[in-house]
Point group: C2
Chain length 172, copies 2
């Protein structure tokens, strides 16, 4: 089955960005690569705000071949700027994609979309990169407001500059 993997960098206190949406505190150490993760996905899911603050970095994933869905009630639906804007419910999109052949799907955030996915129990894998900083305030990856979801630890690794990755699978 095509899985939905939530994969993001966060501070020790669980923030994906500062209040002003900057994320300068996140880093990718030289001995760490996103490529193995990018190789297993062909789809990315983003909320509108996450799309707005990351679009200048280029398309999600390895670029070509990754289909990105931006969930937004405000923006006009349709394909443009290399992504697909949609007003569909995420669970409908995920269910349809799971019936089609393909690779895994990357839930890129932000917090509001993550909460919706967790409410609907759509997250199969958690892949967190924890940078060694307490930010003290910011935009949380896991805003409160979804039922308890248990996971199974799959692995934990450390990289230079103190990055730790934690990998979990949903335990249903």
């Amino acid at each position: 089955m095509r899985k939905v993997a939530l994969c993001l960098g966060i501070s020790i206190d669980g923030y994906i960005a500062r209040r002003d949406h900057t994320f300068d505190f996140l880093f990718l150490p030289e001995d760490y690569s996103m490529q193995p993760f990018f190789d297993r996905i062909d789809t990315a899911f983003l909320g509108r705000k996450t799309w707005e603050v990351t679009k200048e970095l280029g398309p999600p994933g390895s670029g070509e071949g990754t289909q990105s869905f931006v969930f937004s009630h405000q923006l006009e639906p349709g394909e443009r700027d290399g992504v697909i804007f949609t007003r569909e419910r995420p669970e409908a999109v995920v269910e349809r994609l799971r019936r089609e052949p393909g690779k895994d799907m990357w839930l890129m955030g932000g917090g509001e979309l993550v909460r919706h996915f967790l409410r609907e129990d759509l997250v199969d894998d958690l892949y967190l990169g924890i940078v060694p900083t307490l930010l003290g305030d910011g935009i949380p990856l896991f805003p409160a407001g979804f039922p308890q979801r248990d996971f199974r630890l799959v692995g934990h690794e450390s990289y230079s500059r103190g990055l730790v990755t934690l990998r979990y699978e949903r335990s249903r």
Copy 2:
């Protein structure tokens, strides 16, 4: 120097307890022991609410020999029930204890006391035990409202049932 170590179990989403102050989701695996940590401390710091919900478990640490301070503006100051109630500012207590010989000091929480300690930059070591659960709501270990504090990764270990410990030192 006597260090202040924040050592606590949390969910993946950073909660020390459910909204009703229960913490049934936390566990200590058989292959994990708090004893090495208890051996390095002789002092514990608690907020009033944390004291109220943990006092039935017995005195903090290994028991005898650990001096526990409960910070409370409401309760009458003085020594009783095996702990010292105080209205002093935490930074004054820590500063005084650091001038006396002794072991390290355990910041047991809860979140409001942790925030105060982080505002005053009193936390030297972070020692987190992460249980493989997203709780979805609860009492956060790191409530927002303190300046950014950077740390250095010292170690990470995993134990049975998916507990991961992350150990950090303050990088000043």
